[in-house]
Symmetry: C2
Subunit: 150 residues, 2 copies
DNA sequence: TATTGTTATACTCTATAACTATA
DNA sequence: TATAGTTATAGAGTATAACAATA
């Protein structure tokens, strides 16, 4: 009905990125269920994996979520043995979080799972198209302050 | 800490698309507030704009949301004068929704807004990079059943 | 009896505010 | 008094289930 408009809303990067991101996250969420994890748990493990063991409040700032949410995410990860929570002896108010060996294995499982979903998602792309997509998303993500590894 | 891993989670398309999609949707949501709209209202208007006036139940199937959600989205759009709701004379159970002139103007505003955000978001990309991104996202979105216009 | 739309209710996610322990 | 973490509470968003009108 809107073919007359030279630039419909559905052609915008904002629309396509938002809707496709939502679909892809839904798939990832479903696949993560077998590991007893939600995407935010994975986000917390990614943050822990990429630097010095931070306090929960620092994590909240890094992840741009409320401190109370870090508490419940850490509660769950501790319960399944993925993180250690140790009081900082130098300041006993601080809880320092660190991935356990189990946590690192779990993160590796999430990583394998994401790359398996990647193959399904991008099966119709050529190799160069897939790499261009990965690279461009990484660039824009880095500009937006998201974790990136290259 | 995970630099030894040749393929970290953060390099996957799934991770990058999910996180960046979430950031971009948050920006779009903020910008839409001045039009008294949420992204799902825009989704409903997009669906109405791209075909024959459908019933609310058909809309719910197209948008993959619960019928009760279509009711409240349509309530709001009707309240601000963006859609007409008329009982189908041939089957008085059906409410047929259609964009009004106001609704079409509103959708045009949303479209302009999305393209303005596109410029900000992709300012660091070259023209060909931006078009490749748009095209690839459109392809993958179409495969996932999302609305596309090219 | 089946279907469309609506209303009532509940669940998930996440934030804000109140509180505890430590500094 | 200020800060880290926790707990209590509340709000947004959306689904499921019960219901009303029409077929």
């Amino acid at each position: 009905m809107n073919d007359v408009n030279p630039l419909p809303l559905t052609t915008s990067v904002v629309f396509r990125l938002g809707t496709l991101g939502s679909v892809v996250t839904a798939r990832f969420t479903t696949a993560l269920a077998e590991l007893e994890l939600k995407p935010k748990h994975v986000g917390l493990m990614v943050a822990l994996d990429s630097g010095a063991p931070p306090s929960q409040l620092e994590l909240a700032r890094i992840m741009a979520v409320a401190p109370s949410l870090v508490v419940s995410l850490a509660d769950h990860l501790e319960r399944i043995g993925a993180v250690d929570r140790v009081r900082d002896p130098a300041d006993r108010r601080r809880q320092v979080l660190a991935l356990t060996d189990t946590g690192r294995e779990l993160l590796a499982d999430c990583t394998a799972l994401a790359h398996r979903l990647d193959e399904e998602l991008t099966a119709s792309l050529t190799g160069p198209e897939r790499e261009a997509l990965r690279r461009t998303l990484g660039l824009l993500g880095a500009e937006a302050g998201l974790p990136t590894s290259d």
